[in-house]
């Protein structure tokens, strides 16, 4: 009988999720299982994700991978899965419950704090910075914002965060937002873009205004972001290991189906990359186009 593992993610069209999907597909090919990958249009659509989870459960899968938009909302369905003996692997961010047998995720708070450290280093420990974040309410948006802001507040008293604005991860909207921020704060020293779309938007905005002395720190990867780092437009970025997340999720699911022991927490890690190390093999391995 064919082993079927649906992955319900937080998104679908974005590069990050496509990289997770690629990792999952890779593992599926390796272990000889079938996976499907689905996610709602935006990270606000908690109920849509629940509907996807419900449809996935109806297909009587052997295991399920789930990246919860809101862990509480999904608990009744997850409990159903548990009752049916379907192991649940959480990925990307955890679920506040003991139902998932394993969690493959990135510590977004710590990763964003690292971005704050790098920002401080690059602007010399003082001055004004701003954030362009993709989402005001989603877990990843909140963690990356808070990770960055809290770190600045704790460790760098001379750095002022002038504004945090949200562009929905939409490249164009983030571009316009960046231009407004730069217009309102001509003396701004740096901007942190909290996901790929935001980071590219920041780069575009700065370039359209001809602002060359801005320190831009991004998050995630993608061809454009890598290019911006090579061209020196972006100082550097944090990357997670989305391919690894996808791969580890499926791998853990396969193990759980077989009844093997799986570690409860699988830290897939995060990395700082810039011009100097972008071509290092271990960095290149976690970057995607």
């Amino acid at each position: 009988q064919e082993t079927y593992i649906p992955l319900i993610s937080k998104g679908f069209q974005h590069q990050f999720w496509q990289a997770v999907k690629a990792g999952a597909d890779k593992a599926a090919a390796e272990f000889g299982v079938t996976v499907t990958f689905e996610g709602p249009d935006t990270e606000a659509q908690v109920d849509r994700q629940i509907d996807m989870l419900a449809a996935a459960l109806a297909k009587n899968p052997q295991a399920i991978g789930f990246a919860a938009l809101d862990s509480q909302a999904a608990i009744p369905l997850l409990r159903k899965a548990q009752e049916a003996g379907i192991p649940v692997i959480a990925f990307d961010s955890g679920v506040d419950s003991d139902i998932p047998v394993a969690t493959a995720s990135t510590d977004n708070l710590a990763a964003a704090a690292l971005a704050a450290d790098k920002m401080a280093e690059l602007i010399g420990g003082e001055g004004k910075v701003a954030l362009v974040v993709h989402d005001q309410t989603s877990r990843t948006g909140i963690d990356r914002r808070d990770g960055f802001v809290n770190r600045v507040e704790e460790a760098y008293p001379n750095i002022e965060i002038v504004t945090v604005q949200y562009g929905g991860g939409d490249h164009l909207q983030s571009t316009e937002i960046t231009k407004s921020i730069l217009q309102a704060n001509p003396d701004l020293k740096g901007i942190f873009g909290a996901n790929e779309g935001s980071a590219i938007g920041v780069v575009n905005g700065a370039r359209e205004l001809g602002k060359t002395d801005l320190v831009i720190i991004g998050y995630d990867s993608g061809a454009q972001q890598k290019q911006a780092i090579r061209d020196g437009l972006m100082a550097g970025a944090i990357t997670q290991n989305p391919v690894g997340i996808g791969y580890e999720t499926v791998a853990a699911a396969v193990k759980a189906i077989k009844g093997e022991e799986v570690p409860a927490a699988i830290d897939t890690g995060f990395y700082w990359y810039d011009k100097s190390n972008i071509d290092d093999p271990e960095i290149a391995a976690v970057l995607y186009d």
Binding site: G39, Q45, D51, A55, A58, Q72, P76, Q136
Partner: protein, 334 residues
Amino acid sequence: MTTEAATPAAPSPAAARLSGAHHRLLAFASLIVLILGFSLASPNFMQTSNIIAILQATSVNGVLAIAATLVIITGGIDLSVGTLMTFCAVICGVVLTYWGLPLPLGVLGAILAGAAAGFCSGTFVAKLKVPPFIATLGMMLILKGLSLVISGTRPIYFNDTPGFTEIAQGSIVGVLIPSVPLPNGVLILFLVAIAVSFILSKTALGRYTFALGSNEEAVRLSGVNTDRWKIAVYTLAGSICGIAGLLIASRLNSAQPALGQGYELDAIAAVVIGGTSLSGGRGTVLGTLIGALIMSVLLNGLRILSVAQEWQTVVTGSIIILAVYIDMLRRRKL
């Protein structure tokens, strides 16, 4: 709109009524075809648990679509249903979780918040003569912002209100008839549908809803206070969005303040697929229910068949056009 016959005198209107019923029966056609198709394609589709999942997935969009139906019959449009739903959920969260008041007050709060917002939209449309598209677009943005402000851009959980999740997720029917574990959310959808059908066909409010959409100027020239009735329709629609807010909050056990935008299109699509005309004057709640069901069956079925997500949207778009085209064909024939 069928009116209970007093004397079936002349044959023509009776025939018209018959063909009306006929038509409505036939309107199920697309839905039935979809269901049959998916049942044949996958054994997982026709399971009780999946049918309940489909109905559950219909409940929120169905209630929103019923609210939108009311406004659309008056010849207006309501873009604010999605964010209003969220706003009501947030208000409910404030009442229950932040203020710690008992459950009935939370329910009341959500419905009143919806009615108040609907009243505002209605006033903008009726008194300030702002076109419904703009009035409700503005309200959509205002409510979206207010939901974030009030909630502190953070979900509000209902963990302190035991029983809150029962509103949508419990099953009174299941307690009475254990083999039919119909969730309360679906029951509420049906009750709302019956209530609004009743209002539309039996009350003055319903009569004026159709009259306004049919020829507002004529109604006004007949000495009817059109403004008041229009505001009443928007207010009713708003309070129905309040019910949707309760349903979604109960399903998610939380008020998610960022949710809601984009839901208006799904709701309006359900209304139009259900045969209600965007130019007003005609429409049925039953049609809207079928429209909402078509949309959830489609999505669920494509997921069950593991159609790749990018193709899901292509197929959904095509089938929506096809379903309405077939409906048009049939109507022209009848």
